[in-house]
């Protein structure tokens, strides 16, 4: 229990630090959004102080002392207010995110988990049965991973969506359905999600497979695996409880990092498949100098990375007793 409390405390501090940095960084940047907008619109004629003041108010530029701004910021965060998005003006950032986040989290999340599970399972087998036909898995999947991702995604889209017409070409769901917990919508969302998710799995499974296979091979040389074999245990038990359980530890650590980035979306995936996720928002926000939206997205990403790491830390403790004591 001490482990859990220590970890929880650590992550609370980390969340606070992330939130504070998210507040400070934009304020450390020279200039303010009003100048940026004026420069962008290339408005050469001098602007009246009143008009400038109006813009400043609108963007929330403030001359209050920093600590006052900080308190106000924290208060807004607690109420879920991130300001208004510029790119999707006048939609609030929180609304933009609440519309895109579920798409990304569900689709990219499922794809990532599938890819990891598939990679670890195949890697375990390929390592365990080294020297059989399973060895061919490594070059095959590595080849797929070596293809530039956007191109692979485009080919999949063209072949399965365009030529064969098995899957829709864009969007996250059919516009004929109404978003909600109803059967036609869910079916269309799954149908739309398969292709982008499959492209992510195809492109990323090699890394997990290769890492797991190599760890399996080196773990199988350990004395405890030899002891397990000498003990006359069943091969399945040796493979899973003695070899794989030790070999999987680095993959779990890698999974923590990947899981955090699920939220930022697979930007390329969402663009190629015109998927209505956070990645699309991020691109729009950068293109439109949408600071409120960017700040909102970064905050969500930081929180998601921390949250995912927390979950994986717990998972790690579950499979490796050594971490429960140390750390």
């Amino acid at each position: 229990m001490g482990y859990l409390r220590r970890k929880a405390l650590f992550y609370l501090v980390a969340v606070w630090a992330a939130v504070t940095l998210n507040f400070l960084i934009p304020r450390l940047i020279k200039g303010n959004p009003v100048d940026a907008v004026l420069a962008k619109t290339q408005n050469m004629t001098p602007m009246s102080p009143e008009a400038r003041r109006a813009l400043e108010l609108q963007f929330g530029v403030s001359d209050d002392p920093l600590w006052q701004q900080y308190l106000g910021y924290l208060g807004n965060l607690l109420r879920g207010e991130f300001g208004l998005s510029v790119a999707y003006y006048p939609t609030p950032v929180s609304k933009v995110l609440s519309q895109s986040l579920p798409w990304t989290v569900v689709m990219v999340g499922i794809a990532t988990v599938l890819s990891v599970l598939l990679g670890i399972a195949l890697g375990t087998l390929a390592g365990w049965r080294r020297g059989t036909w399973l060895d061919a898995l490594v070059p095959t999947t590595t080849f797929l991973a070596a293809i530039p991702y956007f191109w692979l995604a485009l080919v999949l889209l063209w072949l399965l969506g365009g030529v064969l017409g098995w899957f829709p070409l864009n969007s996250g769901y059919s516009y004929e359905t109404t978003i909600g917990f109803n059967w036609p919508f869910l079916r269309s969302a799954v149908h739309h999600g398969i292709l982008p998710a499959a492209s992510i799995v195809v492109a990323s499974v090699a890394g997990w497979l290769l890492g797991m296979r190599n760890m399996m091979v080196s773990t199988m040389a350990e004395d405890y695996v030899l002891t397990a074999e000498a003990k006359g245990l069943r091969p399945r038990r040796i493979m899973i409880q003695y070899a794989a359980r030790n070999a999987v530890l680095p993959s779990v650590a890698g999974f923590a990092i990947t899981l955090g980035f699920v939220v930022s979306g697979s930007i390329a995936t969402e663009i190629v498949f015109s998927y209505p996720g956070v990645g699309m928002n991020l691109v729009a926000a950068v293109a439109n100098a949408d600071y409120p939206l960017l700040q909102g997205i970064f905050l969500v990403i930081s929180l998601a990375v921390l949250g995912a790491n927390f979950v994986v830390d717990l998972l790690y403790a579950l499979i490796d007793p050594r971490t429960r004591q140390a750390g």
Binding site: E222, Y224, L226, T227, A230, K231, G232, R245, D320, Q325
Partner: protein, 366 residues
């Protein structure tokens, strides 16, 4: 070239002309024509430096050899007290799995990582019972695990511990307890005390001896520590370059070693009692077994080598100098080559045939 033990003794394991090859571009012949008999309840020590093939021999005997290693020739015969002999090379799959640990258990160097770091002691002990005694119920398994730990003087509260929570000595005890689980006939121990300090080492050896007296299993004890083997073994095999070069009762070897290699090994550790002597190593390094020399493998490092040694690989013959119990693979003891017996210096147990006047060899008269 068989090495029958004294006729009439009850042999539990006989190894005949066993050869192991590690396949590759340069196949390595790690074990070359090794034969020995292990009597029920005896301790056979196998000594030799790193790379002499002693661990490979252990893996080959227990069928744990992994590719590219393979048994090229020879056989390992297990003779149970209650049935016909079993040729281990004929066991496969389920039969091999059931044979393991029931008949032959192994103890590896447990202070390092012979225990799975992510499973508790309880699960690693209980695994043996779930694999071999599936009829046992959970509570019975738990009882057996407690008994096992009790056997090696560890409290039952340690069942829930993980290996990293135990000291090196305790881990080794857990491994020994594990080997006792199914009351095997033979326990093969590969460097079981090497990573432990001498005090703990002593405790472990006492423990093994006590358990052996109680359960009567035979032990194949493999280590590079010849001094330790001289003390604990009934019989001893000294390996060099994949072959047994000397084989005999430990007591005899102690007083009169025959093979120049054994003589060299014996003078490379200090004696507790007796005259002070200068310690020496054996200059040179072990042969490359991917290109075994045509003659005796020790020729290059042997101060007693003569012409024949370079092309005749000596057989393991009875060395008639002390009686019928010791065998040595050295041409000096082959009456066909040396009818007059070995040189005087070798017979006297000196590694240097003619020690010079240098003060460093002052202990030659030991």
């Amino acid at each position: 070239m068989t090495l029958d033990s004294t006729p009439g003794t009850d042999v539990v394991l006989s190894v005949r002309d066993l050869s192991v090859v590690y396949d590759g571009a340069d196949p390595v012949r790690a074990v070359r024509g090794v034969s020995f008999d292990l009597a029920r309840g005896e301790v056979l020590g196998i000594a030799g430096e790193s790379g002499c093939g002693k661990s490979t021999l252990a893996y080959a005997v227990t069928r744990l050899l992994k590719p590219p290693g393979r048994v090229a020739s020879g056989q390992v015969l297990f003779r149970p007290a209650d049935g016909p002999p079993v040729d281990l090379s004929t066991l496969h799959g389920e039969a091999l799995r059931r044979f393991r640990w029931n008949r032959v258990a192994m103890v590896f160097q447990g202070a390092m990582n012979a225990l799975n770091p992510v499973l508790s002691v309880r699960r690693q002990l209980a695994d043996v019972f779930t694999a071999h005694r599936p009829e046992l119920r959970r509570a019975e398994r738990e009882d057996r695990c407690r008994e096992l730990l009790d056997l090696v003087g560890i409290g039952p509260e340690r069942l829930s511990s993980y290996p990293h929570e135990l000291s090196g000595g305790m881990r080794q005890r857990v491994l020994i307890a594990m080997a006792m689980a199914l009351r095997p006939d033979v326990v093969v121990m590969d460097e079981p005390t090497t990573a432990l300090d001498v005090v703990v080492q002593r405790d472990i050896l006492t423990e093994i001896d006590r358990l052996r007296a109680r359960f009567g299993f035979a032990v194949v004890f493999i280590t590079h520590d010849l001094s330790l083997l001289l003390e604990i073994s009934d019989r001893l095999a000294v390996m060099y370059g994949g072959r047994i070069v000397e084989y005999g009762r430990a007591a005899d070897l102690h007083t009169a070693a025959h093979h120049p290699y054994t003589v060299g090994l014996l003078r490379s550790f200090p004696r507790l009692r007796g005259e002070r002597t200068v310690l020496h190593g054996i200059p040179g390094s072990p042969p490359d077994l991917s290109r075994p020399p045509a003659g005796c493998a020790f020729t290059a490092r042997c101060p007693y080598a003569f012409d024949d040694c370079h092309h005749t690989d000596p057989a393991l013959l009875t060395a008639h100098t002390t009686g019928p119990t010791t065998r040595a693979a050295c041409l000096h003891y082959d009456p066909a080559v040396r009818p007059d017996g070995p040189p005087e210096a070798l017979h006297a147990g000196r590694f240097d045939p003619d020690p010079g006047p240098a003060p460093s060899t002052g202990g030659a008269g030991r």
